[in-house]
Subunit: 546 residues, 2 copies
């Protein structure tokens, strides 16, 4: 069996037809959901691309792998999905985005060249690269956001789009007469991107995925990782005006959230992104385009699934669809991601297993508390490889997929955020190492602990499912906060770094027992089996001068 | 300046004349103490050789580096003292014991050969090896405890001691007529080891250290790491009968400790080592020999310090003396180490800085809460290298050495112990990953948190300095336990894995700001500086078909 591990970027958990969006059209993903189990309580490990993805690729919490933010290198030697799959004879390929930053210092220290197979896998987060495109080819006075080669830009140039950065000038811009109308400026969002739809990013990456599947023998896991619906919010026709203001779901915000906000929420709310997305004209311009980007993604899913059907690969291919995090889109007076309200921290998660063993759960949903790192364990498990529980902190969801009895993977979900690289850190006057937030969520409650001396945030998910009332300072809920802190503390003492020794290794050591001649606490030979101490009996050998 | 980083193995904090032992003779170390600052509240990071040493060599907590127990490999790529010193142009050499186990799997995965300089340093915990001797050449039916080459055994063979393991037959055995009287059996402890004193382990390693200093150009840090006074408890004449029963300090134990013991304490207390060391005949046989081993170590210190004086190196050599952990010697009904009573978890720590900057503190003591990982930071700092605070979790003690104003390094000390490889784990029916203990100590209190569902232990260090009354279940001290748990939880959320990015790196990123063309939350070009967005203005380049 092969595994398509499909990840979208910044796709909200509730922006799918199958997830209940009233106007958004995602028929192909809805059809997949009818043949999958859909998880409705799936949390990203961090509401920021880089950290979330390093967790997804290592199966470890952010504070376990240490790559807390975009562009923070994943330390050399950290084990990845690719290591665990290849150990079981399954290849692990990349088609698209990882946001991986190589630990160049660490590689140099260990003499690893990016030109070697070992070095290349270290530099690319354990993947073998069919096509890597991190999809953010922005340029400013300080240079490019991403200095890597852009295969997508090369494709566009070869197709005849002029200039050195057609990603910026065509794929992510409309036109205003003869002028570029850049998608970075949201007033242009509803303009059609100035590009043939077939040449835009999502169809291009889908073509890469189809070419990969055509050319590559299995068993493989392919991480098909799309850039969209991530900003810049702009999309080619017909998707640019497919949705209108009437198709937008009501904004979820409340004046009470601004009256006496938690300082951390306030610092993001009052930043440029928060204030911009709090303007209705911005939401009304951007959200229909965000929806168009999603429907374009869905149409490309249709193309991909059709290819699987037509080539007979469908019955032999597991399909997982998720996202790295969500998008506030103005909810809670926020834009982008950063904090832990559902629109930001929850992700869609579909698991389609073609095998008969999964028939019982097709079309069902589970509200189990799932974390992104569980997907890593699920892929390793589904591929028939061993999930090393001393390294991978996620838990396989295959018991859910197969509908068999099993203990819940956990009683609470954790997500983390290090905002030391965000302006809010300076704004709050917090030291970089204190700019860390930890979410603890049960089915009933969500608490956010803030390092740096701030009070926690607390939301009652049963009675305030829209998370509008922060009970973090409410004396009536001190016991609940204490209970959730207990969970956070249990988690924080987890064993996360004993990665060179498994529980099985320890059992084997104990079984071997004291047979290596170290006999402690023995006063007299007669106290233990002579066989154990034979080496310490007998005649004295010759000494110097004897 | 060069640095002699001297470590003894299993030397109790209170078994030095300068530390107040009434009968034990350590004149050379006492003289060093008169020229040093001595820390009276220094804690090992773990009361077990391997874990404690991996913390000493990385400057990181046990649960940060993950090598929890003897023989648990230190993960490849983990940074060590050697990495930090060499980055500053200072060599870092090993003369003696590390207890390092190479991460062979990790090295193979990264293609590192132990024959290469990089691979050899990975395999030897970051040291360049002058002489490595882990000093435990035991043998049993299951083979050798240590399969490495034994330079000490080679030395003894070349001197004419016959057999393939003269370490076992001579250096660590007496004779009983023509028979071997092995030091593993403590009834033989007081017999003189059947070896010329000059050929025994401690003098041999001292000779290695002197040869190193004679042959090697500085600046260097040399880890001179002795095996003794670690068991087997046996020593050559005249040290074997230098002390008698009257020289033993009173045992620190109390029947109340056995009446209603904490289950974890009970499991160790009732094990073979605990029960053996609870027999007075054992203590009276072993402790005088343990004291003799220490005086032999002290005489060798005299030899080493004389060499420094005679060669003029003394004024240019910093000397640090410590141990990896202590030895219960029957206190609290325990032998060996394993738990967190002072005799086990506290270590001696002398820091002698020959520079005038340290004159103010010579002969003084400090009762600051010091951890073994502080020594790592102190060495890096004293050598004039940068202490990378995002990697090294210890704090430099140089402000204490120089007697300048400074904040205390911490309000509480942490020590950890993973007993999953100890029989007590099975005895208690604890899962391997739950067999973990965490000590939190302030000047007034010491609490031990136990994973696996046990209550904590608690000792009132002011009113019960001998730690005989476990208040872990006393309702009167619930607030104290809550306060100490608060400290443990603060510690457990520390940032320990963001090792690829420093706070300075983050500051530089923020200073660079948004100059790379990613402009978020901008509705209209006019909202920001045109220079930042110039790349997104201007005429549309040629498109296909234009």
């Amino acid at each position: 069996m092969n595994i398509l591990y499909i990840m979208f970027d910044q796709l909200r958990f509730d922006y799918l037809g199958c997830a209940g969006h009233p106007t958004l059209k995602t028929p192909h993903l809805d059809r997949l959901a009818a043949r999958s189990i859909r998880f409705t309580n799936a949390y990203t490990q961090s509401p920021i691309c880089g950290a979330a993805r390093m967790s997804a690729y290592t199966g470890r919490y952010v504070s376990s792998h240490g790559a807390h933010w975009n562009g923070f290198p994943l330390r050399v030697g950290e084990l990845t999905l690719g290591d665990h799959l290849r150990a079981g004879g399954v290849d692990c390929w990349l088609v698209g985005k990882t946001h991986m930053k190589a630990d160049a210092k660490g590689m140099a220290r260990l003499g690893l060249s990016p030109d070697s197979i070992i070095g290349a896998r270290q530099a690319d987060c354990g993947f073998d690269v069919w096509c890597r495109d991190d999809g953010l080819w922005a340029e400013g006075p300080a240079g490019r956001y991403d200095e890597k080669r852009s295969p997508y830009n090369e494709y566009l140039k070869q197709k005849g789009y002029a200039g050195d950065n057609p990603w910026a000038d065509f794929a992510n811009a409309g036109r205003d007469g003869d002028d570029i109308a850049s998608g970075w400026f949201m007033r242009h969002a509803d303009k059609p991107a100035n590009i043939d739809e077939a040449d835009s990013e999502t169809p291009w990456l889908t073509t890469q995925a189809i070419e990969f599947m055509t050319a590559t023998q299995g068993p493989w896991c392919a991480h098909v990782s799309y850039i969209k619906p991530h900003w810049p919010y702009i999309v080619p026709a017909p998707y640019n005006d497919m949705y209108g203001v009437d198709d937008i779901i009501p904004v979820n915000r409340d004046d009470r959230e601004r009256d006496d906000p938690h300082p951390v929420h306030a610092s993001f709310m009052n930043g440029r992104i928060g204030t911009t997305f709090s303007r209705d004209e911005v939401r009304e311009k951007v959200i229909p385009v965000y929806m168009g980007l999603i429907t374009q993604c869905d149409d490309q899913m249709g193309r991909l699934f059709r290819h699987l059907d037509e080539t007979g690969q469908a019955e032999d291919t597991m399909i997982i669809v998720t996202s790295d995090h969500g998008d506030y889109l103005g909810d809670h007076w926020m834009g982008e991601k950063d904090l832990f309200h559902d629109p930001s921290v929850k992700v869609p998660l579909l698991v389609h297993d073609p095998r008969a063993s999964a028939d019982a759960t097709r079309g069902t949903t589970s509200d189990a508390l799932v974390e992104a790192i569980d997907v890593t364990a699920t892929i390793i498990d589904a591929a028939g490889c061993e999930v090393p529980s001393h390294i991978v902190e996620g838990r396989s969801l295959m018991p859910y997929v197969n509908g068999v009895d099993h203990p819940a993977p956990r009683d609470y979900a954790i997500s983390e955020y290090d905002y030391s690289s965000h302006g809010a850190c300076q704004g709050l006057g917090v030291a970089p190492r204190d700019a860390r937030l930890f979410m603890v969520a049960t089915r009933d409650w969500k608490m956010i602990h803030c390092e740096g001396g701030f009070r926690p945030m607390l939301f009652d998910l049963r009675n305030d499912p829209r998370e509008r009332i922060d009970l973090g300072a409410d004396p009536a809920h001190a016991d609940t906060r204490r209970r959730l802190y207990g969970m956070l503390h249990d988690w924080s003492l987890r064993m996360s770094q004993r990665v060179t020794v498994s529980d099985a290794d320890i059992a084997a050591r104990l079984a071997r027992g004291g047979g290596t001649g170290v006999v402690l606490g023995i006063y007299d030979e007669t106290e233990i089996d002579a066989a154990l101490t034979a080496r310490y009996r007998g005649k004295v050998p010759t000494a110097p001068g004897d």
